[in-house]
């Protein structure tokens, strides 16, 4: 199938919820409720054979009875009724559908899933799922998740899109994203991928102007060579961070050469990700840490990092991480910068990298250090450590960092470790687009991944 247009699925002007129910325990009830809660501004229709009205909305007996063009039908009914309903959607010229229902290939009902795919293909009707959470787009305010908002917080509008094969990983990470400052462009949970698969979705997001960064969780890839072509294309435009589930392979046991024994299925996936410029996450926390820096920071021009700190030991730990990263190194502060710093900072500050401004450092010392580092051509990116437990650090330092962020053309990230007072400032800074990390490891690894991707973009052939 050629490139699919998924716009009607993610920016629908009209939605039909098939299986909308009056019973609050039913999936179809929660979906409709969420649509109403999210303040979706398009036209919304409820379809249920056994009801005339749900939550004050008129119910249609079938999608065929709706006298409107339907951009998206969300199907939440028992699996065995899905093919017939999908057929009706096709006849009603519904543009796209999402089958939330489970009970297909994941429990062995392969034929039923095949039936679904062939109906979707016949009507040329992009169909997501089955066995998925569907989609969320805070811009168009669509939300097909059957998880109530009091249980799963909804992220704010942002530039990160999240593709997810698994519903469980999807809802967990989505909840975490809601707590991050960067915000969501699109969430797409595609489940069994009977028809629309990761290749279609990556292709769509590659061209989506609202998506700056893609994060994805996948277990298996269905069309390897098509995936390679898409991967190559998308990473020339925007970063993709991938977490792969199912990394151990039983196939390795059966291998009969050294090459095959080394290169199991996960190793091959990892090789393809690496070759075509994906950023590989080892864990959920990596996905979020990398997304944060990719979303807001420009590419560094090189590998030299300048560290500003108000605590010696944390500066040492961050320097160690830089030394071990294999990619980054500590910058040599230029002589000109050293002279300026010596003139403008108190004598107790030792002029070297990491630049330890001392525990009583307030916003003034930070400002001095930041502006010198920013104009020093021997420094490619800045790691500002701000420990809010110190006497000098308060909201004025956070404000200075935020203010500085606006003018800096180099990557600037913050490392702040601590509990409530620190968290408050982290939220302040992150909501202004400044990435804040809570460990030297997370901060330096994220910066290292940004550099690796920048180098891929610069050096990899088309």
């Amino acid at each position: 199938m050629a490139k699919m247009d998924l716009t009607p699925m993610l920016k629908p002007r009209s939605v039909a919820i098939i299986g909308a129910s009056r019973d609050p325990g039913k999936v179809g009830h929660v979906i409709l409720q969420n649509y109403l809660n999210a303040g979706y501004s398009g036209r919304i229709y409820a379809v249920n054979k056994n009801a005339t009205e749900v939550m004050g909305i008129k119910c249609y007996e079938s999608v065929l009875k709706i006298k409107d063009t339907i951009d998206l039908a969300v199907i939440a009914i028992p699996a065995k009724f899905v093919p017939e309903t999908l057929e009706e959607c096709g006849k009603a010229r519904v543009k796209t559908t999402i089958v939330v229902s489970g009970g297909f290939a994941e429990i062995g009902n392969v034929d039923l899933q095949e039936q679904l795919k062939s109906i979707a293909d016949k009507y040329n009707m992009p169909t997501l799922g089955p066995n998925c959470l569907g989609v969320m787009d805070p811009r168009s305010r669509i939300d097909t998740l059957f998880l109530p908002t009091y249980k799963l917080s909804r992220p704010q509008v942002g530039g990160v899109s999240f593709l997810c094969q698994s519903g469980a990983v999807g809802s967990t990470v989505l909840d975490l994203i809601a707590g991050e400052g960067f915000g969501l462009s699109k969430f797409i949970s595609y489940g069994n991928a009977a028809q629309v698969d990761e290749v279609d979705l990556l292709n769509f997001l590659a061209d989506d102007p609202d998506t700056k960064v893609i994060i994805m969780y996948i277990e298996g890839i269905k069309r390897g060579r098509a995936f390679i072509e898409t991967a190559r294309r998308v990473t020339r435009k925007k970063p993709v961070i991938v977490l792969k589930g199912g990394r151990t392979s039983a196939g390795q046991a059966a291998a009969h050469s050294h090459t095959a024994a080394l290169a199991g299925s996960y190793e091959d996936h990892e090789a393809v990700f690496r070759q075509f410029g994906f950023t590989i996450a080892e864990d959920i926390s990596d996905m979020l840490n990398y997304a944060k820096i990719f979303n807001s920071e420009p590419f560094p021009k090189g590998n030299r990092v300048g560290i500003i700190t108000n605590g010696g030991g944390i500066g040492v730990l961050a320097s160690d991480e830089i030394g071990m990263s294999g990619t980054l190194k500590l910058a040599e502060i230029s002589d000109k910068s050293k002279t300026t710093l010596r003139r403008n900072l108190p004598p107790l500050v030792n002029i070297r990298n990491p630049l330890d401004l001392a525990g009583d450092a307030g916003s003034q010392r930070y400002e001095e250090a930041l502006s010198v580092f920013n104009s020093d051509d021997s420094i490619d990116s800045i790691l500002a450590i701000c420990l809010f437990q110190t006497p000098g650090a308060d909201s004025s330092v956070a404000a200075k960092l935020i203010n500085f962020k606006e003018k800096s053309e180099k990557p600037l990230i913050v490392l702040s470790i601590g509990a409530d007072y620190t968290r408050m400032h982290k939220i302040m800074m992150e909501s202004s687009g400044l990435p804040v990390y809570d460990s030297p490891y997370a901060a330096v690894h994220s910066l290292s991944q940004l550099l690796k991707y920048a180098e891929y973009r610069k050096n990899a052939p088309n």
Binding site: G224, R225, H258, T259, D268, E270, Q275
Partner: protein, 202 residues
């Protein structure tokens, strides 16, 4: 695939391998050695790991040759049909592995790593999908922890990059070749030779 059919394919792609031939007697083996050191290997489809099974006799000279040949004949009794290969002994060098395989999703893949007895112990290798570009070849070498050892501090880098490009071309052009295992290839400064060749065809 027969060892020498494999060797001929490597020749076509300018991938160098140690001078070898089948020998059918002690005398033929001694004649092939012509005073130098050789290796004798017994090849049988019933024995996949030749060295583990004691089917590779290294560094044979003079009267060690007929003795080793007789030992292989005894071991071979239960491994029929088999053949014995005599190969010129390589100078010691760094052993690497270069191979290819077919992934069910991504198709042909190429692999390079630290080879010989270190393959399993260090698992230091890099993989890419075929065909690779020059950029990929460089990145594969950079990915190895043993890159300085393998490239002799960079002096062999160009040679190994070319070797990767040749293997990629071989895998790409020969659809029926599903797996290649050159382990080890012995790398010296400025030269190399594959001393074991395994190629599988559909």
């Amino acid at each position: 695939m027969d060892y020498f059919d494999g060797k001929r394919i490597l020749d076509r792609y300018h991938i160098k391998s140690a001078e070898s031939r089948y020998v059918a007697s002690k005398d033929e083996a001694a004649e092939f050695a012509s005073g130098g050191a050789i290796v004798l290997k017994l090849i049988s489809s019933k024995a996949l790991h030749k060295s583990k099974a004691g089917l590779v006799k290294l560094g044979l000279k003079g009267n060690q040759i007929p003795r080793a040949y007789s030992e292989l004949l005894i071991k071979g009794a239960s491994l029929k049909p088999y053949k014995i290969i005599a190969q010129k002994m390589s100078e010691p060098g760094i052993e690497i592995i270069l191979g290819g395989k077919t992934d069910e999703q991504f198709g042909k893949m190429i692999l390079i790593g630290l080879g010989g007895i270190y393959v399993e112990a260090f698992r230091d290798f890099a993989i890419r999908s075929v065909p690779i570009t020059k950029y990929d070849a460089t990145a594969m070498i950079d990915q190895l922890r043993s890159r300085d050892v393998i490239t002799h501090q960079g002096k062999n880098r160009k040679m190994i990059e070319n070797l990767l490009m040749s293997m990629s071309a071989l895998l790409q052009a020969n659809e029926s070749i599903t797996e290649v295992d050159l382990n080890p290839i012995v790398v010296h400064e400025g030269s190399y030779e594959a001393v074991d060749i395994r190629i599988l065809k559909t």
